[in-house]
């Protein structure tokens, strides 16, 4: 299945793009997607152990199972206000 990935702030700069489409096997979880990206982009892996993610603009736990067409975002620690 295909999911859309969005990257922000420092993650966007490390990966070098803000948007991508990933092909994952059916039943893949948020954790699997994050691991996949950590492997592909070494600096993302070395930067932090835990990466906060959202699915379809809601904060999502690591074990959430993804579906075709989901929008998954990797969110660095926020710093608004």
């Amino acid at each position: 299945m295909k999911v859309r990935v969005k990257l922000f702030a420092s993650y966007r700069e490390i990966v070098g793009q803000s948007d991508m489409v990933l092909e994952l096997r059916d039943g893949a979880t948020v954790q699997m997607l994050v691991d996949c990206l950590k492997n592909r982009y070494e600096r993302l892996g070395s930067l932090t152990d835990v990466i906060i993610a959202s699915v379809n603009k809601k904060y999502a736990r690591d074990d959430v199972v993804l579906s075709e067409g989901d929008e998954v975002a990797l969110l660095p620690p926020v710093s608004g206000g």
Partner: protein, 139 residues
């Protein structure tokens, strides 16, 4: 309904927000304005770049507003957060809370800015004299 949630490039008028937010029961309006410091813990700031996750930020702000209105006895809540390039002295964020009485208004406004800094997808990059740095974690 004087409440509003907005993530925008533009500056805001506090007078305008305060005019709209009051109703017949309003006795107290507490507002918090965050400002770009020129000096952040010794770092000399030339510029701030604010980035957001459009759509999700508004949803998180709206959830926070609902949470605050339930937790405290608030009449109306407006939150405006700026994004894009900001200079020292510029407004970053406005939180305005209208209530019958002041205790709730103060508590509600402080709760909102504390929570905003923890959960709303907004990121701040400081452009310094000698480089740039993503600020991590609300402070």
């Amino acid at each position: 309904m004087g409440s509003m949630i907005l993530v925008t490039n533009d500056d805001f008028s506090v007078d305008e927000v305060l005019r709209k937010i009051r109703n017949k029961r309003t006795g107290a309006i507490v507002s918090f304005v965050g400002v770009v410091r020129e000096d952040d813990s010794g770092r000399k700031i030339k510029m701030l770049e604010m980035e957001t996750y459009k759509g999700m930020a508004e949803k998180e702000l709206s959830d926070l507003k609902d949470k605050a209105m339930e937790k405290y006895d608030l009449e109306e809540v407006t939150i405006i957060h700026r994004i894009g390039s900001l200079s020292p002295g510029d407004n970053i964020v406005l939180i305005a809370v209208a209530s019958g009485h002041r205790k709730e208004a103060f508590a509600g406004a402080e709760f909102l800015i504390d929570e905003l800094k923890k959960v709303v997808p907004l990121w701040k990059k400081e452009i310094l004299e000698d480089g740039e740095v993503w600020v991590e974690g609300g402070h």
